[in-house]
Symmetry: C2
Subunit: 276 residues, 2 copies
Amino acid sequence: MPTFVERLAARWHAAHSLLCVGLDPDPTRLPAALRGRDDAIFAFCRAIVDATADLVCAFKPQIAYFSAYRAEDQLEALIAHIRRQYPGILVILDAKRGDIGATAEQYAREAFERYTADAVTLSPYMGEDSLAPFLADAQHGAFLLCRTSNAGGDALQMLDVGGERLYERIARLALRWNRNGQLGLVVGATYPAELARVRALVGEMPLLVPGIGAQGGDVAATLSAGQTADGTGLVINSSRAILYAGQGEDFAAQARAAAVRLRDEINRLRRQPPLG
Amino acid sequence: MPTFVERLAARWHAAHSLLCVGLDPDPTRLPAALRGRDDAIFAFCRAIVDATADLVCAFKPQIAYFSAYRAEDQLEALIAHIRRQYPGILVILDAKRGDIGATAEQYAREAFERYTADAVTLSPYMGEDSLAPFLADAQHGAFLLCRTSNAGGDALQMLDVGGERLYERIARLALRWNRNGQLGLVVGATYPAELARVRALVGEMPLLVPGIGAQGGDVAATLSAGQTADGTGLVINSSRAILYAGQGEDFAAQARAAAVRLRDEINRLRRQPPLG
């Protein structure tokens, strides 16, 4: 059974794409044609998935947009749809969990058994024992928050912890905790200098990069700072700029067009990967 | 409208109790009489609530134990039951959320609109802007992870960040971020020296203290380290030692007996509060 990181690498090459579409379905921004439907969240996300699946290495549903609206069943249906229709695509459940072991076991069950995600985002604040239940099975992965894309992240992440910043310490700890090649890190596109520093620290470890598009991150700077020697190593997420590219009946086509542009921009700027 | 902290103080005095019962319903540990029922999680927790309500200042449902089993509806029903039957009791949703602002708004909606919680536990790793949506309404509160009860917490929380530990910096940041008296901190009973240090830093701020009982925290040391001048300031949580005090048909009575013992032990050891 290949590990999560091996499956991600296979998808990077097979799809020739580092693009991840974030599924953050804000009910106030859904196309008018879908509003009022009981399954509007699912229908919207499924249309986005079907319009962009061949363009992406991963989909990243953000669980808060489902749980705020009692739509867990729609999230289950959405991931089941991805599994059934697009078996090579990785599903990263963006949940930023973090708790002591006995509770983390329940969160791992939620992510991997209930939602059948391939990987989950986690907070590192409670340390290694809080991560262990998510790493019990090598086919699953976890991305630890390292340098987040928001301005407020500075208060902790940029603290000097004895000659290095806290986000650098997290990167080094992730290397140590990464016994089976299952870990990645979250590093925002809004801080390319720190992205370069993390890449220098962690070798080939996958980096999940939010902050492109609506948050202002730059594609060229992200690639220059974060790609590996073979032009991969990055899961570059875009949510709002793709989901809400259009508001009319052609929203899915508009989303696809935005995703094509971003995938192509990424591919133009990255080192040429081996064809494959 | 009183703030969250004012309502908590009122309940400490009215119930003459610092005890919080954590609702972590592990399906493998439910009484035999309830197993197999569709609403077993709700029925178990409701029985615990009804048996202990007069003994507690707060209930703390741990959301992972519900979401791992598609039991969000049972969590809604449970909190609705507490609201209806025991209106003075605070409900702290233990969810340890933490995300950028737009997503944090959805998590705040989940906690306060869907579940009607009074307060929520949050991770501080992403900084002040990740907390803001939870503090939009003064009647709601948030407890930030500071010094957690698990061993792995050392890796980050005990880092020296320029003459103080990271958990001390979190305590000082919480003071600064606490514009409307809505914040508290999570400090594990397993580290009484750090609990004393946090108390010295934050004045009267409420501290949510897990780790009593199954995790080995000591009641006397907790009170000595953490109580305020008037013998309050603490929300002392016990989950497993109360929930699973008995496994038979009398599980609720056993839970009540365990809760009485712990409440009384706390009250014997704390400074005498003014009679309510």
